[in-house]
Amino acid sequence: MTSANPPTRTPPSAVVLTLNEEHNIADCLRALGAFSDDIVVLDSHSTDRTVEIARSFPNVRVYQRHFDTEYKQRNFALHEVDYRHDWVYICDADERVPEDLARELTEAINDPAKTHAAFRVRYRNMYLGKWIKHASSYPVWIIRLVRPGKVTYEVRQTNVHPIVDGTIGELKSHFVHYSFNSGLVRWFAKHNYYSTREAMEGVRIRREGRPRLRKLFAADPMIRRRAMKNFSYFLIGRGFFRFLHQYLIKAGFLDGLAGFHYCMMISMYEYWIELKMTEFESNWRGATDRKVAKMLAGRPA
């Protein structure tokens, strides 16, 4: 707890989900430890030094659970772990909580005028040592501070959103997101995984048929974003459109070379999603096996 806070104010607990985050976890826990005295690391059986490093921090408890799906892991973190405090700040290992956000978190949950069940917050996405504000569609609001009993993650393959029973407040400060800290190989591998999951979700949504247009104009920006996402699964040229959207409409070009590369990488990721949807919907492997059998059977007599 910072000395600026009177001792009567209780901080939130914090939880971090990890899998092989040895490059990130120390900085992440240091930032959390500056304001919270109850930190939980829920690790998916890392094979690097993540757990060892986490255990070396005071006020940190480490639990391990086999990672099955994102929403189950996140719901486990919220509902099966006992926290010392009523509020929990959810953090990823590649995120850092700066001082101003730390102060605001504690103020928000100790303010009797605020009766929210959760708070959402914006973040600054960093690439090549730079805040890529435009390329990463700033501002994106994300729910990070919650009362665990009031929040459940939706059933979805990846990029899960929390469902909140109650009102949602907004925080002014930002956290900082270093998605490239563990190196690009890791980023590519992660997005290979995410794109498979997104494609599975896309195939499911395409099977259900187009969603209603009305949702595209919903007042809630989170519902709007999700509706847009669902529509996007019916699009041809996902990668191309995402690039146009991020680089021109969202003005990613203002972020210089870092912005360009970020937009390209996101566009590549979208291309992978689209191609994987094609792969799942038309059976490539079966077609290949049939063709091979034919070619190995020898020339026609």
Partner: protein
């Protein structure tokens, strides 16, 4: 005089999915020797059950070193060695051709084999992926791989020749696996680029490089290509238009785009590695 025998070496790592089919196909040409890089999916047992003459395990070092070790150390008994990957098949036409050629006591010590890729259920015969000549069949003791961590080449002592019929390269893995592999290759390839940049490559002197076309192409790859801006786009244009990738239809279009992704990943990783190098040398000062 009995016909010359061909031993087939198959390097493997976690190929449980189709190693049985590979061996069944290879055994029609000769005895099969599996060099396994400590698979964890039971590849070794499947290979034995499928009738491999020997399954030898060795921790993976890099592609060229691993295969060179296999060439030197597997208990081959035949006069010739054919190197086959687990995702490759020998067509009946190629098998007959090899038998006929070798039975005539050829002068050549090594043979280049042409390879056709099957992707999304179709053979890909354009886009610069075809023809794809690889020295795969050689008289035992006459050929080795050049030492390079990825995209290794074989060097053969003596005359070489080309076989007319082709073998198949089956891309039947999921796209996710395809990308996983290409992320790994991009990582290795960018390491190579860094070595070239720092002048640590094992490749010979520039004077000898223009003696043949392959060497000239390699020189361009090492000294010009990494410095060219817009490589992913060039790679796409080259494959899809200049090498007629569009003639292959949908697989040609997707492969050209995937290879552009691959090229892009190499470039980004190369930049990242250069940057890290600079940072670490700065912090040392």
């Amino acid at each position: 005089m009995s016909a010359p025998r061909v031993d087939i070496m198959i390097p493997t790592l976690n190929e449980a999915d189709h190693i049985a089919q590979t061996i069944a196909n290879a055994r029609e040409l000769g005895d099969v020797y599996v060099l396994d890089s400590l698979s964890t999916d039971g590849t070794q047992q499947i290979a034995r059950d499928a009738g491999a003459a020997a399954v030898v395990e060795r921790p993976f070092t890099n592609y060229s070193d691993q295969k060179n070790w296999g060439i030197d150390n597997l208990p081959f008994t035949g006069d010739w060695i054919f190197i086959l990957d687990a995702d490759e098949r020998i067509t009946p036409e190629l098998r007959d051709e090899i038998r006929q050629k070798l039975a005539r006591a050829p002068r050549a010590n090594g043979y280049y084999v042409n390879r056709v890729v099957l992707f999304m259920g179709k053979p890909v015969r354009h886009g610069g992926l075809y023809p794809s000549w690889n020295l795969r069949l050689f008289r035992r003791g006459t050929a080795r791989y050049e030492e390079r961590t990825v995209h290794e080449h074989m060097v053969c002592n003596g005359a070489t020749d080309y076989l007319h019929h082709e073998m198949l390269h089956i891309r039947r893995e999921s796209l996710s696996r395809f990308l996983e592999k290409h992320i790994r290759y991009a990582d290795l390839e960018s390491d190579e680029w860094l070595k070239w940049r720092l002048g640590q490559s094992t490749m010979g002197s520039p004077g000898s490089l223009f003696k043949d076309q392959l060497a000239a192409r390699q020189w361009i790859r090492r000294n010009i290509w990494p410095r060219l801006p817009g490589r992913p786009l060039w790679r796409f244009m080259y494959m899809f238009f200049f090498r007629f990738g569009f003639m292959d239809g949908l697989p040609g279009w997707q492969l050209a785009r995937l290879m552009a992704c691959y090229e892009y990943m190499i470039g980004l990783l190369y930049k990242e590695k250069l940057q890290r190098r600079k940072e670490s040398s700065r912090s040392l000062k």
